[in-house]
Symmetry: C2
Subunit: 192 residues, 2 copies
Amino acid sequence: MAANYHHGDLRRALIENGIQLINAEGAQQLSLRRLARICGVSQAAPYSYFAGKAELLAAMQEHVTGQLMDALTAGLDAAPDGEPAQLIALGKAYVMFFIQNAHYYPFLFSWPTMTIDLAEDADGSRNFPPYELLRQTALAVLGGRVRPEHMQDAIIALWSTVHGLAGIATMKHVHYGKDWESTLEGILRSQG
Amino acid sequence: MAANYHHGDLRRALIENGIQLINAEGAQQLSLRRLARICGVSQAAPYSYFAGKAELLAAMQEHVTGQLMDALTAGLDAAPDGEPAQLIALGKAYVMFFIQNAHYYPFLFSWPTMTIDLAEDADGSRNFPPYELLRQTALAVLGGRVRPEHMQDAIIALWSTVHGLAGIATMKHVHYGKDWESTLEGILRSQG
DNA sequence: TCCTTATCTTGACGGCGTTAAGATTCTAGC
DNA sequence: GCTAGAATCTTAACGCCGTCAAGATAAGGA
């Protein structure tokens, strides 16, 4: 739809520079005007591609979610299929992704874009893909190890632990000193 | 220091009305000018008491943290001392506090005010009091049940689960349908 | 009473998100 | 190649924001 108008590919430039800014300074600091300035374009130019700031943020979220999915599937592929080690690898990939990109955590989870339905009969195709991947992996790994009536609790417990640890580890004012990755491994191994 | 100057007790009014606004609409929506308007005072009046918005937010955080501590100690007191049930009660109080005041969660954990040191030899008196209460309770309850070298992991696991579930449950775009409180109880009972 | 200090107001600054109006540039049809 | 129309971008403005400087007002102590 565009290759060399005035800017070239402003839509892509806005998303990519925006994500870079969020990664460096956090979404709170992101202003549409500054982002436009960085892209070498006037303050109103982004409105040719996005109805407003919220829509641009949503597009950036989708992009970041894709990066997270890449990290998760890479983690999954490095572990044997259907083994508990695979669930641990997935959890580690989740936590490490946010530790390495701490500003993504509040960015993804504070703006109400994607929906998540935790119910057992939820339509997974409409769910936040990283949660859905975790859910499917848990079903495959825990299928024979957890009683069906406890499966939903087990999945929520797993995501809570992993998601909570990521949130704690990415808080700027939290000190630890030890290695988050091995801590998580110890935690998951002991309660898996 | 103040009882009936022009406003009466502007400092308290700013904090209390501010917290009320955050509880209703979230910290993102809080503007100093609107808050001043609500308190019946000019835009610059708050600067007589706070160096800037950040300092006012910090004072409100301290207040909200106090409310959380009240809820936690109330939960603790309702359970038998030193029993695992006490840890479950504490976790439930933590999660339910944020479910009942969902906007407090991002407010408390997105602004870098309080510090948390998860190290075993940390100076607890300087730590976020709710975490410190959980830590002390865990030490008392798990003291004879968890091997010392796993104690730190157990505490972090517990806080991660509880903190993560609170974060998930307070996301506006998350559906569940079942009861968070009993879900948490099931989770904690099965891994405690 | 007067002086000091605390409290609050007015007015301004630059930055923000957003919109309207118009200029510029590309593309399609002839 | 030319022209009509659509896509893209600019300029200028609006009302909001956080913050600051200067000054008015009110309280309390000497």
